[in-house]
Assembly symmetry: C2
Homo-oligomer: 117 residues x 2
């Protein structure tokens, strides 16, 4: 086995993704936006336990990374919609894998509980 090859250095793709998507909320927001563009208030309804500050903060971070697009309609009272960009949409397979993993994990838990371990 080539142990040099697996050395984890500063610019490794896992870290890149962690920086872009890490934290408690970003993936949940992206998952929402995968369904449709949403206004801030709608996102808050769909992610009940996020605070307004976090939502705005994370949306801004996602904009800055180019994963989310902010569309301001310039109305009063304000109307702003958030939607995924092309790269933003590419987070879906990742989210799908997270889902798949969670299901497999819970299935495994059930198996172990059933067999009395």
């Amino acid at each position: 086995m080539d142990k040099e090859a697996i050395l984890i250095t500063a610019r490794c793709p896992i870290r890149t993704t962690l920086e872009l998507l890490g934290g408690k909320w970003k993936l949940l927001i992206l998952f929402q936006l995968h369904h449709a563009p949403f206004r801030l208030s709608a996102l808050r309804k769909n992610i009940p336990d996020i605070s307004e500050k976090m939502l705005i903060q994370e949306l801004k971070s996602l904009q800055e990374s180019g994963l989310v697009l902010r569309q301001n309609f310039g109305e009063v009272p304000p109307r702003v919609e958030y939607q995924l960009t092309a790269i933003g949409r590419q987070t879906m397979p990742l989210i799908e894998q997270m889902r798949a993993f969670a299901l497999a994990y819970e299935e495994e838990l059930r198996r172990n509980t059933a067999s009395g371990q």
Copy 2:
């Protein structure tokens, strides 16, 4: 669109996975162990900037979730090896997707830089 269906609640698979694998180090450790079982000291070499405490702490957390198996050879000085369990191995597709996403993202960055935007 069925807005009820996409409401993110406390027991959602994304959150489950985030709880199991979130944080700065767990996925890097799992990625290492995907190659082969490793001793603590070897893991430290492959993940140069992790502290010993973090490594031990995260390995313990991964054991407790059933993703990693600890094998103590009972020698002196201590010899302990860590390896993936069956469910632990199921994190690979996820890691692969993270890698794929990071590459796509960087590709996109390059495209935007090249076109002067």
